[in-house]
């Protein structure tokens, strides 16, 4: 299921924060989510956390999926999480993927970041995860 009961499609921001130019994974995930029926907003490259959080707010996004392969994940995820909270988006799922060592992923999970998908992930696992997690966080009538 990629829609709520009113027929509104789940809206997902796929974002590339920081200076990292590796966009292959983000684009593949964006295309896979689109093909699975999500409404996808791809930010493009070199975004600041502020721009991403604002996009989430303006688009009334259900989830923000962030791709980081630059090693900056321990800086960017906490900053984004903080911004989402400050802008009143506590129920918006922040998850992502990239090259993120397991203990860093664990530390981020404790802070409230959702799943982080590494290399070799099947995009259907990402689809399933979002289908389950979005309605859990944002129950709608």
């Amino acid at each position: 299921m990629t829609k709520d009961s009113t027929g509104r499609k789940f809206r997902v921001i796929v974002a590339k924060p920081g200076l990292d130019g590796h966009d292959r994974g983000a684009k593949v995930v964006a295309a896979a989510l689109r093909d699975a029926g999500f409404e996808v907003i791809y930010t493009g490259l070199h975004q600041t956390c502020d721009l991403i959080a604002n996009a989430a707010l303006q688009e009334d996004a259900d989830a923000v999926c962030v791709s980081i392969l630059s090693g900056a994940h321990m800086t960017i995820f906490p900053e984004l999480l903080d911004l989402l909270k400050k802008k009143g988006m506590d129920d918006v799922l922040l998850c992502g993927g990239g090259i993120i060592p397991p203990d860093d992923a664990e530390a981020l999970r404790h802070q409230g970041v959702g799943r982080l998908f590494g290399p070799g992930t099947d995009t259907r696992d990402i689809v399933r995860y979002l289908q389950e997690e979005i309605p859990r966080r944002r129950p709608r009538p």
Binding site: G18, L19, D23, T75, P119, G120, D122
Partner: protein
């Protein structure tokens, strides 16, 4: 009719029916190694004369950390250096800029001041080593740091050997570390080609790179066609700028990926040499055989490595390295087994370097020149690569050349499509990758990885700020003003950049001046 057998390849020539013959009759444009059109190699004796250069790409943390890794690699028998810079350096931000937060020293070494470059090469004789620097939108500034450092070591520019990647077209296409729009970027590059032709006779001012195009998800054919077209575009801009083609073309070098499509990679390297030679001679009027020869560096495919069962990556890398050698590469980087997890540890890098050394010293490969020549399969694959490549050239030419094609998003979208198709094929098990969608093991043990201490960033930021406090502000302001003037007037930018660097101008400050004059590039966010 049954469906064709599954293949990893997206290249039509790969499936050769069983009934085809074994040997080629009269292979097209084959010739001998060292002779036009160089299908079999740029040199007659190839590795019998000189084994390929073993050049491991490395860089992390501070200049001090990377300097120590360089010295380690040289002590282990590596024969050339290759610098990986961090993201802020690639994107033109000083380490103390807000946009550098969390990225300093993470994916490469931070170099934003002359002092950083001096530390990076401290105790390394710059007149003796050859250095490759993977940097593009800020290449002219990094070359200026390198020249000024060499000068302080007492090494004249004419003695410097090495390569600076400086291939901005593939940044827009694949690697995506751009700053300025395409046309001003092409001007910066043309200025550097002219400067190098005058002052750096042993330097390669551009390494035309297919590596990143392939890593972004292209097919082997797209890698070949887009890369060669980028190369021809630099040649055209050089000629238009009034530099005689035979003065700069011999110094252009290439950089390809060697992926897991073993025979296809070999055919790609052979076709690359032939296509380049023919066009340089016939279309661009190059008279010197040195301008016709395509010489290249190879790196094994990072994107073929798996995070699952990482030890298997040693085997993948060995197979890919073998294809590079059979294809006649001039230098080689072999990836480390842990690179799908993090930057490589010293141990993992050593195994990767040893892989090349085993190939070079134990296999007998170096005794033979293009040993696969004459095989019908290899020759017909090489021919088809060339034919298909010409079709892609035709499409780009119809779009008004590579700069226009990039502005239209053509190569970017073609690559995004290919990479999505590859992912779907993998998920639907049309391809098998050991450990990922076949022979999967549950509960793998954690693999030891390199961690970058956050202290690195704090130290580098503090050092950058101290560097800025120590400078003569007046000399710097006038050097930066002169650079702005050169950007406006069309004067060659290399000398003013060098002058700014010598009065302690930082990377970020020089980039800011150029941004004011040239503007910044924004890619339309499409995932196709």
């Amino acid at each position: 009719m049954s469906a064709p057998a599954p293949t990893r390849s997206r290249f039509p020539g790969t499936l050769v029916p069983h009934e085809q013959k074994v040997y080629s009759d009269v292979p097209r444009d084959l010739g001998k190694a060292g002779e036009y059109p160089f299908t079999r190699g740029p040199y007659a004796d190839m590795y019998r004369g000189k084994v390929w250069t073993m050049r491991m790409f490395s860089g992390f943390g501070t200049a001090r950390d990377t300097n120590a890794r360089f010295k380690y690699l040289l002590s282990q028998g590596q024969t050339g250096l290759s610098v990986a810079f961090d993201m802020p350096t690639l994107m033109g931000y000083d380490s103390d800029h807000a946009r550098s937060d969390g990225e300093v020293g993470r994916e490469g070494v931070a170099v934003c001041t002359l002092e950083n470059m001096e530390t990076l090469f401290s105790g390394i004789p710059m007149g003796d080593v050859s250095t490759s620097m993977t940097i593009n939108s800020t290449a002219s500034i990094m070359l200026a740091f390198y020249l000024a450092t060499a000068e302080r070591q007492g090494v004249a520019p004419a003695r410097l050997r090495g390569t600076i990647q400086n291939d901005i077209l593939k940044e827009y296409i694949a690697q995506k570390e751009w700053i300025f729009p395409p046309l001003p970027s092409m001007r910066i590059i043309t200025d550097m080609m002219a400067f190098c032709a005058d002052h750096l006779p042993k330097w390669h001012p551009i390494s035309v790179s297919g590596y990143h195009i392939r890593e972004a998800g292209s097919t082997s054919l797209q890698e070949l066609a887009f890369t060669l077209m980028n190369g021809f575009t630099y040649v055209e801009f050089g000629i238009k700028a009034g530099i005689p083609v035979d003065r700069f073309a011999p110094r252009l070098s290439f950089f390809f990926n060697s992926h897991m499509n073993f025979f296809e990679e070999i055919a790609k390297f052979r076709a690359a040499r032939r296509i380049w030679a023919k066009r340089m001679k016939e279309s661009y009027g190059a008279k010197s055989p040195e301008s016709w020869k395509l010489r290249f560096h190879t790196q094994t495919a990072g994107c073929s490595l798996t995070a699952q069962q990482p030890e298997n990556n040693v085997v993948r890398t060995a197979v890919e390295a073998l294809a590079g050698v059979l294809g006649g590469t001039q230098s080689l980087h072999t990836n480390s087994m842990d690179e799908a997890l993090a930057l490589p540890t010293e141990e993992a890098v050593k195994v990767a370097l040893r892989t090349q050394q085993v190939l070079a010293h134990e296999s007998g490969l170096v005794d033979h020149v293009d040993p696969l020549a004459g095989s019908h399969f290899i020759e017909s694959l090489t021919d088809q690569m060339e034919t298909e490549c010409e079709k892609v050239f035709g499409e780009i030419e119809r779009r008004g050349g590579m700069v226009a094609a990039i502005e239209q998003g053509y190569p970017q979208i073609e690559i995004a499509r290919a990479s999505y198709q590859f992912q779907k094929d993998l998920e639907e098990r049309r391809y098998l990758t050991v450990g990922v969608n076949a022979l999967v093991e549950e509960g793998e043990k954690p693999f030891p990885i390199l961690k970058i201490d956050p202290v690195v960033e704090r130290d580098q930021v503090a050092e950058t700020q101290r560097f800025k406090e120590r400078r003569d502000g007046t000399a710097l302001a006038s050097a930066l003003a002169d650079l702005g003037g050169a950007a406006r007037s069309g004067r060659n930018l290399m000398l003013p950049i060098l002058a700014a660097v010598k009065v302690s101008g930082t990377l970020g400050e020089i980039v800011e001046v150029l941004k004011r004059e040239f503007g910044e590039w924004r890619e339309p966010p499409t995932y196709w």
